[in-house]
Subunit: 708 residues, 2 copies
Amino acid sequence: MNAGGERAVAARLAQALLAPRAVALVGASGDPAKNTARPQRYLRQHRYAGRVVLINATRSELFGERAWPDVASAPDPIDHAFVMVPAADVEEVVAACAARGIPLITIYSDGFAESGPEGAKRQQRIVDIARAGGSRVIGPNSIGTIVPPRGVALTVNAVLDMPKITSGRLGLVSQSGSLIGAILSRGEARGIGFSALVSIGNEGDLSVGDVADMLVDDEHTDAILLFLETIREAPRLARACRRAAGAGKPVIAYVLGQSELGRELAATHTGALAGSAEAMAAWLDAQGVVRVDQFETLLEITPLLRQARPPGGHRVAVVTTTGGGAAMVVDRIGSDDVRVVGPPPEVVAQLAAQGIRIGAGPVTDLTLAGTRREVYAAVLDAYLASDHCDTVLAVAGSSAQFHPQHAVEPIVAADRRGKWLAAFAAPQADAALALFARAGVPAFRTPEACADALRALARWREPQDAALPTGDEIPAVASASALLARYEAGSCDEAQARSVFAALGLPQGDWRVVVDASDRDPLPVPAAVKVLSPDILHKSDVGCVRLDCVNEAQARSAFGEVLAAARRAMPESRIRGALVQRMETGLGEVILGFRHDPQTGPTIVVGAGGTLAEVYRDVVVRPAPVSPDEAARMVDAVRGLAPLRGFRGAAAGDLAALCRAVRRFSLLACVEGIRILEAEINPLLVRAAGAGVVALDGVLVTTEVVAA
Amino acid sequence: MNAGGERAVAARLAQALLAPRAVALVGASGDPAKNTARPQRYLRQHRYAGRVVLINATRSELFGERAWPDVASAPDPIDHAFVMVPAADVEEVVAACAARGIPLITIYSDGFAESGPEGAKRQQRIVDIARAGGSRVIGPNSIGTIVPPRGVALTVNAVLDMPKITSGRLGLVSQSGSLIGAILSRGEARGIGFSALVSIGNEGDLSVGDVADMLVDDEHTDAILLFLETIREAPRLARACRRAAGAGKPVIAYVLGQSELGRELAATHTGALAGSAEAMAAWLDAQGVVRVDQFETLLEITPLLRQARPPGGHRVAVVTTTGGGAAMVVDRIGSDDVRVVGPPPEVVAQLAAQGIRIGAGPVTDLTLAGTRREVYAAVLDAYLASDHCDTVLAVAGSSAQFHPQHAVEPIVAADRRGKWLAAFAAPQADAALALFARAGVPAFRTPEACADALRALARWREPQDAALPTGDEIPAVASASALLARYEAGSCDEAQARSVFAALGLPQGDWRVVVDASDRDPLPVPAAVKVLSPDILHKSDVGCVRLDCVNEAQARSAFGEVLAAARRAMPESRIRGALVQRMETGLGEVILGFRHDPQTGPTIVVGAGGTLAEVYRDVVVRPAPVSPDEAARMVDAVRGLAPLRGFRGAAAGDLAALCRAVRRFSLLACVEGIRILEAEINPLLVRAAGAGVVALDGVLVTTEVVAA
């Protein structure tokens, strides 16, 4: 298909989802107590203007409206079919929909990928049938779609019993079906409306990214909210995020599955693959997604759609009439990303000239005595006009409820001058929150959500460009790819792994392979002697490593010992000799890891060496490759490397060499012709500043050759 | 005063605070725009039935009511005087109140301890004057007191402009004045009422504990809420918490100052002493306080007052109609204290016999299909009746808003059988929350507050008895006390510190003091040689330590070197020779610390050795002394000690000896006649299982002798 044809198909699909002229309810029930009777009722209640085509195998009338016995006999046109029949009947219905050329089929029925491998096969079959006929599928296991501006209440979600739904400028895509109702109703209560809410279900065909992409082009949508349990189609979501940023539409995500149990639940709930929570978070950050940690922040942060770019800094100025109220927010930020800043002397002086005396401390507490419009407005204005901060947090105390003139109105009226402004009211203050909502000021009901939003803002960046190889990295990657092409797929032996790492420019120290006891070539001593086998990954555990061989004689005798130990412990393993490597000393150890994450793809991990990475989960994860700058930020973020940074007078390590190694290692993401599943250097020894780093071990696992 | 007399005084004070027959407003204003005009208006609006005595220096009438020129001329009786005059005039007013025998004086005026040392002196003076006359003081810097059952709206807090305040069963004591308004109004919106709300101000006289103690005896109060920034009078609060537990009234606390900046803010806000956040949290836990982390949890958890005892376990069963909604809660628990448990086979079978098929997974998701009263009620009932869990979390999905019959009503109607039951509704569901509130079911608006409450419940314990010395610990403590009595107050030298630690039963290895180069007695070798001086705490930093002296000759030469280094580096220091100690080896290092925390008193710290404790904040803090069981829990909670516990095949350390050392070290809290400000063993070397522990260093700092 040419580009014009693709655009036309995409436009037709978006129209079917967001502005359908007619929807079909396949399996609509005539029993008002049944869930499957709801969509008809909701579409009428919320004044859907298009046609509703009812399909019921046995009844020709449902609640006074005509029904058809099957999809084939229903009248044209149908843009969107909502399928509620039992799982066993879905295939037939989908085939009928596809045969009629219905562009979009949402499957509410469950019993597919989320129920196990058999269900996954059934799911794939119906998706294949649909696509063969030119139809696309949302679900299975989707609770439906709601498009408030057009009254499309095409869902079984019970919150649609609400008398009316308010249209707004937020589009939501959710992997949890019931949550579209929860979010809609919570927004409604706050005067926050939606342009669309889509339950994406199992993502058998259309994924979160596909729908987000439609919302980028939707004229009713200014910001895109994601409720995520996993990422199934990272490239499509990445593309949507980049296009959203280009269109000035922020993407905001709440992610389930931060805890181990949470991940397990997310996985069983919709049949998602379990991946690393840290990798997912880092990946979303890299796509320019605003990532929030608290549920309500997802809604409350949304007035940021008025300022669709990251603040470009993390300095927050705070003005308050309640010390305790402001402290509740500031205390819970708990992130190094946010710095709470007091006013500079010139701002203090400027306010003093207006008769307003404030301190230079990080929180400007006007106290009850300063709870007056002219004082609050002057301080707020001075901060919004000053360069010392990127964001201003305005807190209102007990006045917020019944005396909005003191603090709430100055906040609403403030000239933000392109700066970020967030508000928190300490008491119950529904009217104030509504005022803020109307004025587009992000306002928070709880101090924790407010702190969360400030964290999320500080973390927010533009979508990151892929840090592809440049200069001499290009031949380095080519040479690594060429080496890998010569190896069997699967586990490499350590010599192979080291060769690939060396090709990428990672220092390997002095080492050579000895294949035969009769080998009398010189050996690097003092030496570590390790069996060489692609099948023995944990060599120490089976006695296949000898350290500190002080001379060649000892090393040669160790050669025999480790081979014997390997044959004893793992007789089936392929033994290719031993790797003899010079013993090295340094100031500290680092773990470098690389993994093809099942959700987000190539991922690099930097952690403190020894058991620290595990005991303290002291690792930093990023999508790979990382730029040199990002590599430096990663190294900086590993807490256990503090001694290498000179903590408490320790001798500083060669951090420049370490950062370069991180960058080079991350280029494993760029090798061609083969997918690297996992790689690890554990440990990478860091020497004193200027003396470099050296790999003490190496693991590399690949899969079959991947088509270009 | 005898006990009967004390009780009478206490009763009179409690009556003055919670049921005053007459209140005086000293400094009441006739200008309705002024804050000081508010209390008169609020008392009338909220129908205070007692007399309001207005005192204004220049006006004889305020808003149609008679005013008196000063305290002396006002009519009897006055139970509670609320003082709003400028700081400079407070002393005179307090003297007049005391002279008249007014039992309670609340000072709203600021400019006292929170403003600096001069203010602290002024504060002490007015408290002295009040107490000399038999009066007690709340404040200064108190925004006032509200007693809803009696209409006592004795405050300038602007939320009192609310048309009416609902009485309830919660008593609040807050160190933040403006927060009493925030909490009152947020409770009002949820149908949660109060018996009393007291802004305690600077605690110049009456402290949080004193007011909490009155609430223990208050017939209108069933639970006591604390909004805390610091703890100024730990013993009095400890006593109140113990009495509250005895009376079956839970104490629930929200604590500001968890972050460094938060602590700083709390400190500047009311002039509180900065102490350790961890010590404060551990101290509150030990007093049997329910400690919550999120602001709204403070209110939402309160229906627990119906079940005034800790659940006695941490196993949570979860039933839900929304997988995503339940996962949001479970995912955010993030605590090892809580274990989410699935149903045992017999419960699964019992439900199957009723035709209800559930999985054995940790979260029982009934899905939309199971959103029916009979299903929800049966599962809930089976869990509440089963021994596999201590708490049941019941989650309602989209049905909660318009179809309470499906899930909300079964939760409300459930027979809890003494078990804990908590509810979370995923959508906006105000009516459901109100239903829960009326039924006394703790219900949560946000998944985070719900997770917080489950954490707080699991952490909640009965008040801990002081783990005083028993058996041979008694003479050990006596002997340590006797040694300390012979030392000068202040820093001990290492030999003195070691002698005290040895007296308590902490293994010190082989060591002796050499005072003179001519000393030819045998030395323990291989040796570490360290200068002995109470003035040189960081000996290594100034070159005053020589390690690995392999024989006596080397040790003797090191003796001269370290003394010379000390004289060079710190010529003013008292040098008492050198400490020669045998070099020791072991499996791991631990830091033991002891500190007299300015807020909570004796405190013990156990941490991982080396730089880990600092880099990872990997320390566990408890009030001292700790029981042997608590010592074991502390050791278990230090993550960096994983290798000593055998992590990844490491040889296990002598944890029994380590736990014993923790217990013994904590007995420093029990020495008599002197206060130990700080003590440290860094490191304590842990040898292999059975081989014990040994102190490698020792620091001890005391203050002047304390009167018994």
